[in-house]
Amino acid sequence: MHEYLLLLKTSAKIWFTSAFKSKSKKKAIGTSLGYLAIIGFAVMWTFMAYNLFKDLLAMFPPGSEILVQSSILAISQLLSLGTILFLFLTGLRVIHEYLFESSDMHFLLATPLRVKNIFAAKLTECLGLIFLSISFMTLTPLIGLGIAYKASFVYYLTTIVSYLAGFVLFGSVAALLLLLIMRYIPGQRLKQILLSATLVMGLLIVFLTQAFSSSMMNLSEEEIIAALNGLNDLGLNKLSFLPHVWMAKSSVATLPGSQVNLWANLIPLLLGAGLVFWLTTSLSAKLYLSGWGSGQEVDASKKKKVKVSGKPIQGSGSPFKAMLRKELLYLKREPFMWYQIAVGLIVMGFFAFNNMKASPGVPITEGMRPSFIDQSVNLFMILLFAGLSGPTVAGLALSREGKNWRFMQALPLNPKTVFWSKYIFGYLPCLLEGLIGLMIFYFIPGVALFPLSISIPIVVISLAALISIDVWSDIYYPNFNIKIGSSKSQEGTGKILLINLGMMPIILLLGATFSFQWWYSEVSFFQALSPMWAKILSLGLFSLETVGVLIFCVNSSIKRLELLLTGAVDAKGA
């Protein structure tokens, strides 16, 4: 126990120092902004959940308390089930990284500490961090429910305790599975499987939540109550032997007027969590070392496992083409980047679909002119989705070099060659996303959109400017410590979040400038303008903004790269 607590104390100290004690002012500001963004999201989710539950409770006619309670319980069970699924499929990769890829494991395992204590401390640390990082998504709906119900402090306490216990229980099961799997599947292969499973799960979650919100959009009160009745008919409440039901029941048991027995659910949940954690850590004493060892083992044998086409590349002899080819090969083989693009396309697809549902059966004929505002909004929604994928790809274009940056510096490379290859690397996937999005909007009937002869150039030009900002920001503040696709790379996530926040006003500005020709007459200051002049001003300003941004970012980036390539300026992690 002493060893376990000592390790936990050290981990907590390291985590606290890296999270809150920063010597660099810039890093401290970045970290604070990141935390503020998370808190902002949590407050937003809570508020949304509160409104949803408040409206839902108001829908039920008086005297239907039993139906209300069983409906709330069914929703709570769906939430706990979703949390567990999320933990199993997304959190599994994080658990794998903590248990089998932590850089300090070599050191710890070489000390006379007992393996099961090291394992238990690492498992506790990673479950705690997963709980903290996803609780703003999973617990906020329940907090919103509590506020809607005017629940007491005990409700919030039991909710947190039951979710923590659920995390320990299912996290320990996941760790146990990993312990067994690591004995038989090589580390690299398991990593690929986990990454793919995580990304597929992520896409599925995006798809299902979009489909859910799309189907809920036009439901009447009667239809919502009927849907909740249907949920009750599934009989989820009767599965009282399943831990996720204990989680759900423990959390709603202390709501005012609840008929659920708290102790009958919380005690088995706590006992189950403790028992599975004890079992997993006890087994780790026998299983962990061999699994960890096989994970560290690099396939140095002559068996060819991860193989790609052996077809030789036709050489061009041009450094630019060589750089570009390298970038594109990377893009092709980096699932994390394609994942972001796929998410953008799914959201865009549902946005267009909902748009169509909002105006069903109204085909746009020649006699009817669609609203210019609708056309502009739709066009800039496409830009928003495609532009927001940029930070994941273009916003890490240079940082992605990681420790290879030193190798890159030693090559006789012109800064322009590096810039344009990085720029095209970032621009191509976003342009592809933008154009596919445009086609989705174009082919879904009833969606207001400018003719393709206007929409395509606007998407091409605007994305060219937006992506140049992404690439510029990364070249100006590269961070070669970032690990792409790693769940532990908080620096990468923070950087993407900051660029995204910075991009939104720019996309809005571009949208507002382009659509100025249609909204100028609403503002008294511009009413004197003739439509012709408004159009000239609108398009002129739009061109100036995009071309100006592009020229500034290109020139500034190339100058900065010249300094970076010769080591004249410091870069994080270089």
């Binding site: 690299q188 060819k304 002899g317 450094p319 750089m323 090969l329 990377y330 190798f407 510096q409 090559l411």
Partner: protein, 251 residues
């Protein structure tokens, strides 16, 4: 040829390299020695165009690294101290990439690559993604990438670290052969036996200052005593307290 004139590098208030001057001629194998943090890697970085000096000048084959880094780098092959590779590329793709960057004829590059791949026993792994490579395989990959364009000057920062004895021996033989052919080889190492065995001349740097440059024999004469390079190195770089500790440990 490598030339350093009054090469200086400051990191804030800390002077990492202090007015270091020397020349390394073609056909020479030069070993750069020094304790940890003495300024070896910083000097190599400045000579190979990875770091701009605070003062002074570095040139490679009479091309100024400071003023014309891209041109100077065309003459250089560089093996960094940490063997990093592009995980998502295969070895073949990586070597093609390097060959194209140096704009060398594809057939020639393939021929050179083929020989080295065979020597380092990587020829049947060249279509595997490098993400599965071991430390030693990555180090070999870095060495092949540095040699593929047949450079005039080769910089190697701790080249034998992580290599098995056979590969380390091969590296040593290859470096000797390259020097014989007239290339300039500049190598930093902590393994003094390697320096003693291979180097035509050695340079010893301590706290950013060049303490000695010359042959091992000249070092012996300068120190006025016989002994291995290790003993001479310690004599030159160890403080009085360190010397006392060493003699105490040796009984």
């Amino acid at each position: 040829m490598i030339e350093a004139k009054e090469l200086t590098k400051d990191f804030g208030k800390f002077r990492a390299v202090d007015k270091v001057s020397f020349k390394v001629e073609p056909g020479e194998l030069f070993a750069f020695l020094g304790p940890n943090g003495a300024g070896k890697t910083t000097t190599i970085k400045m000579l190979s165009g990875l770091l701009i000096p605070t003062a002074g000048e570095a040139s490679i084959c009479s091309v100024s690294v400071t003023n014309n880094p891209v041109e100077a780098k065309k003459y250089i092959g560089f093996v960094p101290d940490e063997p990093n590779v592009y995980d998502k590329l295969t070895l073949r793709e990586f070597l093609d990439f390097v060959a194209d960057i140096y704009q060398i004829e594809r057939q020639k590059a393939r021929q050179i690559a083929k020989e080295y791949l065979k020597i380092f026993e990587l020829d049947d792994r060249q279509d595997d993604l490098m993400q599965g490579y071991s430390h030693g395989m990555r180090q070999k990959t870095n060495i092949i990438a540095a040699l593929i364009h047949d450079p005039q000057v080769l910089f190697l920062d701790e080249p034998t670290v992580g290599l098995d004895p056979r590969s380390a021996r091969l590296i040593k033989d290859i470096l000797k052969e390259l020097a014989k052919e007239g290339r300039t080889v500049f190598m930093s190492t902590h393994i003094l036996e390697i320096a003693e065995e291979m180097a035509d001349r050695v340079g010893i740097i301590q706290k950013g200052q060049l303490k000695f440059i010359g042959t091992v024999e000249e070092l012996r004469q300068g120190q006025g005593k016989e002994g291995s390079l290790e003993e001479l190195f310690l004599q030159l770089t160890a403080s009085d307290a360190d010397k006392e500790l060493i003699s105490h440990l040796r009984g």
